[in-house]
Amino acid sequence: MTAETAQKFEALEAQARRLMAVFRAAGYEHVAPSIIQPAGLFLDVVGESLRARTYVFTDPDGEELCLRPDLTVPTCRLHLERHADGNVPARYCYNGSAFRFQPGGVTHAHPREFRQAGIESFAAADREEADASVLALIVGALREAGLAELQLRIGDLGLFTALLDALAMPERWRRRLRHQFWRPEAFRAELARLTSSEALQVQGLPRAIADRLDPGNPLEAQGLVEAYLDQTGVELIGTRTSAEIAERLIAEAADARETPLAPDKAALIESYTAVRAPAREAAARLAALTRPHKVDLAAPLAAFSRRLDLLQAAGVDTANAAFSAEFGRNLEYYTGFVFELVAPQLGARSPVAGGGRYDSLLANVGAPGDVPAVGSCIHTERLLAMLEGRAT
C-alpha cells in the first residue's frame, strides 16, 4: 500500500486525541505497550488462526518476535509486569498500530497496518457493571468522534456455560462443547457423538487395555499403559507422561460407560445456539426455551438483564440491540459478554468497534489464576472513513 498521506495522518491523529481524551477523562491510564512482542508467548495465547495473520520474524540474536496483531495481549503483559498476580484493579487505554496479514488482499476496510484505540479493565469485581461501563465508554467515545448511528450486536458466552452446567453430563463433555462452540460443524458432530452410545464406544484401542481400563483407578491405568508399551517395544518419548496418556484412555473408557446425552437435551443445546432476538427479548426467549426442560437459568439471565439495564442507564440504546447466542468473535479468548458495533455502510464483516470479556486471558499470559477482564477497541481507520463519508 502507498504511504499514508500527511492529511490522513493528521486526521487520524486528531481523531485519536478526541478518543483518548474521553478514555482518560473516565479514569483510564494512557499506556503504550511495545509494538514488537515475543512471538512465543503471544502465539501461545492467540493460537494458530491469528498466527497465520501475524507478521513473525527472527532477529539477529535468533529470537522469534512478532509485530503485535492487537493491543490486548500486550496490555495484559504490561499489567502483569506491574502486578505479577494480575489481580489488582486497573484500567488502561491505548492508541497504536497493530499489524495483520490480510489473506483476502489489502483493502480500505482491511489494511495490514491499522490503528486501534481501545480500553481494558482488569480485576473489576462486578462483572456486569464492568461490561456495561466499557461498552458505554466506547459508545461515548464514538459519539464524541461524531459517529452516532451504529448497530449493536451482543452475545454472552456465560449463558452458554450456564446452560451446560445446568444439564447433567460429565464435566469433560462440557469442556469439549465449550471448546467446539466456535466451530459449528465440529460442535454439531460432538453433540451427535454424545447422544449415541455406539459412537461413545472406544474404537481402535488394543483389547488388552480396553477391557481392563477402570475409570475409577488412574494409577492402575497408568500401569496398564506402561506394561503395554513395554510389551510392544514402544518407547515413551516426548513431553507427555504415561499418566497423561492413561488419563485420556480413562476418559474414553468412562465415555463408553456413560449414559449418552438425552436427545431432547442435545436438541435444547442446538436450539439455544440458534436463538437470535432483539436483546431486550432475549432473556424471556431463553427462559421459555429452557423451562420445559426444568433447566434453571434464572441467575445468569438476571445478570444478562441487569447488564442491559446498566447499559441503558449509561446512555446506550439497547432497544435496537440484537442478541445472537452464536455470536462470537474469531478470537477464542472471549469467555463472557461479547459485542460489536456495526455501521451499515461497512457491514458486519468490518465492525467499527468490538470487544468483550476474557477472564482467562491474563492467566494464559502468566497470571497465577483467572482475573476478571473486559476490553474493547475501535478500528480507527474505519471510523475515520465513516466520518469522512468515504465508506461504501
Binding site: L43, D44, G47, E48, S49, R51, A52, P103, R175, R176, H179, Q180, W182, R183, E185, A186, A189, Q203, G204, L205, P206, I209, V225, Y228, L229, V234, E235, L236, I237, G238, T239, R240, S242, E244, I245, E247, R248, L249, E252, E332
Partner: protein, 232 residues
C-alpha cells in the same frame, strides 16, 4: 521481455537427476549453457525454451510470480508456497517420481491418539496440564494450518523446523510433527506413527504451468508440445 518459454528445473539433488532422466526419456535433452554456467540451459531442438536451474522450493516462487512459465517440482512445495494455488498455477501432469506424503505424525506411545479428532481433545488436556499449547514441528506452515482447520483441530502451535523434523518430539522441541515420508521408516525409527486420517497430501513431482506468466499463442503451443512429450 524475452519471448522465450522459461522452464524452471531443480538445480540439485535427487530431484534434479530424476528430472533430467524423465526429460531425456521424453526426448527432451537439456544442456547447460552460458556465462552463468550451471544455472541456465537449453533444450535441443527447442530454441525458444530457456531452462533455469533453481532450488525446488524457489521453483514454486517462480511459478507464483510468473518468472517461469513452466516448472517441475514437488506438489507439496507448490501447495505450501502458494496458498491460492488453483488461481496461480495449473498442474499439467504428475511425473511419477519425487513421491512423498505429507503426514501428521505423533509419538507411537500415544496409544490414546489415533485420529485427528483425538488430537484436538488431547491438545485441550495438554494445555491444562502443561500451561502451553501442543507444538507441531513442521516446515509446512500453510499446509498444516489448512489441514488442521479442516479437521477442527485448533489447540496447537506451530514451531518452524527446517531440518530433521522427525527428531523434534524425542528432543522435546515439539509434541508432534507434520513431515514428509515415503516409506514411513524414518518416522518409525524416531518413535513416531502416522495418524489414521493424518495424511495431508500424497505428493509427487509435477509439470506445473504458471497462470501469472506472460503467455503468447506460440508459447502455449510450446507448452503443449513439452507436456505431450512428457506424458507420452
Amino acid at each position: 521481455m524475452s519471448d522465450k518459454l522459461i522452464l524452471a528445473l531443480p538445480s540439485k539433488g535427487r530431484l534434479m537427476e530424476q528430472c533430467a532422466d524423465a526429460l531425456a526419456k521424453a526426448g527432451l535433452v537439456v544442456t547447460k549453457t552460458g556465462a552463468a554456467r550451471g544455472y541456465k540451459g537449453e533444450i535441443e531442438g527447442l530454441a525458444d525454451v530457456e531452462v533455469n536451474f533453481v532450488s525446488a522450493s524457489e521453483i514454486a516462487q517462480f511459478l507464483k510470480t510468473g518468472a517461469a512459465h513452466l516448472g517441475i517440482t514437488g506438489e507439496d512445495l507448490v501447495r505450501e508456497a502458494i496458498p491460492d494455488c488453483e488461481q496461480r498455477v495449473t498442474f499439467l501432469a504428475p511425473c511419477g517420481f519425487g513421491r512423498a506424503d505429507v503426514v501428521t505424525a505423533v509419538p507411537a506411545c500415544w496409544i490414546d491418539v489415533r485420529r485427528m479428532s483425538d488430537l484436538e481433545e488431547m491438545a485441550l488436556t495438554y494445555r491444562r496440564v502443561h500451561g502451553r499449547r501442543v507444538r507441531v514441528a513442521t516446515k509446512y506452515l500453510n499446509l498444516t494450518r489448512r489441514f488442521f482447520t479442516q479437521k477442527g483441530v485448533t489447540g496447537y502451535r506451530i514451531v518452524e523446523s527446517l531440518g530433521a523434523t522427525e527428531g523434534a518430539p524425542a528432543a522435546g522441541l515439539s509434541e508432534l510433527v507434520v513431515d514428509i515420508t515415503t516409506t514411513g521408516a524414518t518416522l518409525r525409527a524416531n518413535g513416531l506413527k502416522v495418524l489414521e486420517d493424518g495424511v495431508i497430501l500424497r505428493s509427487q513431482a509435477n509439470l506445473i504451468s504458471s497462470k501469472t506468466a506472460r503467455w503468447s499463442p506460440a508459447l502455449r503451443a510450446l507448452e503443449r508440445q513439452i507436456a505431450a512429450r512428457l506424458t507420452a
